[in-house]
Subunit: 384 residues, 4 copies
């Protein structure tokens, strides 16, 4: 690695997303031939003590307690935003203006307006920008897209996407930040619904053009959490209002004529991270479930579906890892994302999904919310 | 069987449904201790020659070419209607007025008005009546209902039902009667959508109270079939308009507060008869797919789903058949249906699903059509 | 059916096997175009009362309490033997000598000597004979054989067959006839091990040429059953010795050079009727599990296995039944068997599996027993 | 990490195993609270140039081209042996004598004699030693052991273990080092058969006490590889003899009375890394397949198996990683192994599996070879 150009990374946030991004930065160079060698320069966080401990554990050389300082540093060329959605726009715009490349966790922002500002900033800045819809980099999902592009499905008729979790099914689960609209922007719709909208568009190459939606908050109040940094936290006897959706369902149309159905929920008991997508075309079909992330199911019609174990060297990203049958895990999707991002930075091309892609997803989510607020009326997604 | 009261059956129609009903009438007494011994008295059909051949093959003692004659016969106490939906109402009402018991294929009728007339006739007649939603009699589906009734799922949050087939995905598949509105009433919505609405209501014990729908006819014209009695038929070069939906998606709410999503399509390449339902409750979840009809998946939370092989003697209907692990097939659901119907007739109770249940399903379908015609606006299902 | 030649059937035994054979005789003509119309003439059983009740229920016209009388009757051209193994040889030989066609439950006999006598009788008699290894007639198993014959697997390297049940895992399960050597001949080895030996030979077209075996009786004594006709029975406080094997494992070689492993057990908790076979060839592989009997898994190398839903019209036997996706059950395998048997009788060809095939399986079982008794030493299967 | 005692690691070999061990050393500290902070001090390899490139890529600070030098270095307290089996004994014994802790890839050695020497060296040295049977550290496998220890299976009746791969099914695949007895010691038996023997003993807590085996080399000659360091290599027109087994089957008995069957093959077309184990006990059963490594199947009798998604925080090793439903991959098993090894080193306890455990596996393999060479005769495994 010694003769490669080094590029400094500053990452803000070290909770769940920060931990998994760190894992990607730390390992990407051991598996992929990169044009740039990332240097884990600075970790940003509010508490000096906690941030320093996290940096030591995760492998960051230095820390900053003010993200503005981090964004300004000369040893930082890439800013990696792993904070809740309410700070994405401000940090990303500042970083872009400071000439940095930016990779930002999803959903891109908490509102369409914020996302538009980010896209505008990206358009006028020299740095590259990317929104971190990591499920695109599941090898099986990338292989699904390849199959569609190769024409193996023919004209697409149906998209059926679900993201099912169950971590708040217990009404006594506390009111963590992900259940508060001011911090998270939205509930299941924004957090996990955004993933399946992006995945559906990525795999099919079509956009969602209109939706009809239903949203629900099953548990209206929850115990206040002592702190709300992670998924858990200490409980108190006080209760607060849940201000986001617990579940969102929407049906709609894709730009190529397919019908689509989407469901995002945190109340699907027994489903832990069932990010699922099925696509039916005139010639073939595909099905995927992240709970079996190394498998893609393909039908070329006839009477069956093939379970493809996506661990062959010619499958996307897989050649860099282990022999066939030795599966990958969740975190690898981030390693692939960082690899693609670094290549885009090095070649001066735009990485995908771009901030514009993130904005389009945001507009789909906004259309779902508008539809749900208007008697589920079919609502056209605003043009990008 | 000799000392049991015999009850005469007249069946109208001998295509797919007639064949499977015959199999049920012929075998039910060999497996279940019945209060009444059915006698396969008369088969009704238009062509004398074809009907006679079918009767010989299927085990019916006599034939009639006019259903009015069949309905009038003294040796017929039960009329079994296996014709397309456009004749259900007329035959059923006549049979009920003639004092017969009636079992009628689904959907109950082609319109809500027809279904209402049938319910009215049933209410004022001495005979029992039943609509043949056979999937209720899949042992795994009946077991699912038992689990819900036992409280194993707790409060139900989500219903997710799909009925996926692919038999008309080829645009050159001919214009058979099931694709013609005047004969079939509706397309995927009525034919298979009705099954999943009934199954969702049966398993949860809740009603669909409102829906938002999308419908589509992907292939607008198809080759005329030489004859349109079955699923196939000879093709000609002429084409005719497809006057029913190819696919219908709808989301909605159940009477107990659950969110529900439904999808019925004949364009899901590789899915042959994937009648699927998943239910998520606060305490547990259930999942079923008819393509693996002897399996029910149950989660009591935690990290897993149990694949229950529904072949144990204490599972619904199963004790009458074979030892554990020796699965049943499609036709057994009809045998179970006939068994339950005969018991209801013998005891003078109302069998389930009744014509009123069939009407309720019809009203859900009508609400879907109304919603789809009105920009997917959320539409309340008319009260029974 | 009226213009077809009728052929009279006499069946002996009406327990589990008799019930399922009756179902096949009763229905085969409704689904298959048969050259001969079977007439369910006589049911044989020891108790007049019980036999008459069974005949009424199962559809037999008359009864005999002495099988010798049944075998002699002029209205019986086919004798169907559904008794325990200790009477197979005597009945079959008598029936063949009386000029009847014979279909006999498996295993063919309790000893090689008996099986040899049956083969000799079959060779010198005018009637056709068949041993009822019904799993050959599972459509998925027949499709597996077709794939091998078409060369899709290439040279076969491995056969891996298991028959796993768990119905006697409880040490208090009573000492039914299947656990007594004098009646059953053998335990898991003969009852279910015979099925997987036959299936392995059928699918691969190769013979088992040598074996090394291990057998075990885990539970040496069990409560005496009040009666031992079925799988169950009333329990007493007395105990008797289990005189057959609970489980048998053997490895060996096939005539075409493949390595094979077999396991038959009634102690595989949670496996109800897992009759499984996997075959690996140089070009492809197949896997089957009877607990999902409508599925066959096929790999053409690469990274996956296709789950073939064996319900397409061009799959073996399937065209006679229901549309794609509407699965069959256990009993259909017997209907297929009877259909093939009737065709063989009509055309004067030898049905498969013949008594000679049954004898070959018997010799494999004998070799396993000999090996197990001699320190698992590799033992050559005696030539037919 | 700064206030933890640092411990220096020297690793020998940087092919497949070296890459995955490096990944474990590099990341273990970011996920687990370790008593010792490993320092990736030295990488050993024969070629200066290649070793330096690998060290740069994988994160090793320095290189040595002579393993004897590496073993002597003061900045190395742990020696990690990732070479082919023919050098394990020499390196391990030297490292132990030099006072180092040793972790050694499996199988422990190429012969029982070598393994015995290693155990003797370990017994008289101050350092800790461990053999790297990584499949013990699959969370699902560790959970299986926990279930057995908790008594959920009751008395164990059956162990059924297979390790199925297909990477040499093509006869033109070259003669790499794993197919040469002088380097690899054995073929499928040693390479992958050793894993399932260890896993069976680990999960059940019982030892294999006797075996009856069959071995086969299907393809006797293969093209010479240009180089033989990895799984692949350039091909020439010359051919050489395959001197190891392609497949090994053995059946046997466990110390607790269970029957066991094992199969290791590289000729199971379509099976990429199907390391499978099923255990049937009187009360329950377990099943695992590494191709779905985040799943464990458990039956408590009744009619079903529960698919446990082994991603819950209370599952072994899982709490250190991601939220439920976010699966792990192959390499995590090594990270868990290193974590356990470091804890053992820190506390001065013996890590598992020890060299003695590795020797016991070796003796099972030797018994299989002896049995296969003696007509499959049942052969007692030599006592440790």
């Amino acid at each position: 690695m010694s003769d490669k150009t080094t590029i400094g990374v500053g990452m803000i946030g070290y909770a769940f997303m920060g931990r998994v991004h760190s894992q990607a930065w730390r390992n990407v160079g051991a598996f992929f031939d990169l044009p740039l060698a990332p240097r884990m320069a600075v970790l940003g966080g509010r508490s000096k003590e906690h941030t320093a401990a996290a940096a030591a554990r995760l492998g960051w050389a230095d820390v900053e307690t003010d993200w503005r300082e981090l964004v300004r540093r000369d040893d930082v060329q890439i800013v990696d935003i792993c904070t809740p959605g309410d700070s994405h726009a401000e940090i990303a715009v500042a970083a872009l203006r400071a000439g940095k490349h930016v990779i930002c966790e999803k959903p891109l922002a908490n509102t369409v307006a914020e996302a538009e500002a980010m896209v505008a900033a990206a358009a006028s800045a020299p740095g590259r920008s990317m929104v971190a819809f990591n499920y695109r980099r599941v090898p099986a999902v990338a292989l699904a897209r390849r199959y569609v592009q190769e024409g193996r499905l023919g004209e697409i008729r149906h998209v059926r996407a679900q993201y099912l979790q169950d971590w708040i099914v217990d009404p006594e689960f506390p009111l963590v930040w992900r259940l508060q609209k001011d911090k998270a922007g939205a509930g299941a719709l924004g957090d996990i619904g955004s993933h399946i909208v992006d995945a559906a568009e990525f795999v099919t190459g079509q956009h969602v053009v209109g939706v009809s939606g239903l949203m629900e908050t099953f548990v209206k109040e929850r115990p206040l959490a002592g702190e709300s940094a992670g998924l858990g936290g200490c409980r108190t006897e006080e209760r607060g209002a849940v201000t986001v959706d617990d579940a969102a369902l929407f049906i709609g149309r894709m730009s190529g004529g397919a019908l689509a159905s989407f469901e995002a929920t945190r109340f699907a008991t027994g489903r832990k991270n069932a990010m699922r997508i099925e696509i039916n075309g005139q010639l073939g079909s595909l099905a995927f479930d992240f709970e079996s992330m190394n498998e893609l199911w393909f039908s070329a019609g006839g009477g069956g579906f093939e379970r493809i174990l996506v661990t062959e060297p010619d499958h996307p990203y897989v050649g860099a890892w282990w022999p066939p049958g030795h599966g990958l895990g969740y975190e690898h999707t981030f390693t692939h994302e960082i690899k693609d991002f670094l290549e885009a930075v090095a070649t001066g091309t735009d990485p995908e999904p771009s901030f514009a892609d993130g904005l389009r997803v945001q507009r789909v989510l906004a259309a779902v919310e508008a539809s749900a607020a208007d008697g589920s009326r079919y609502t056209t997604v605003e043009d990008s």
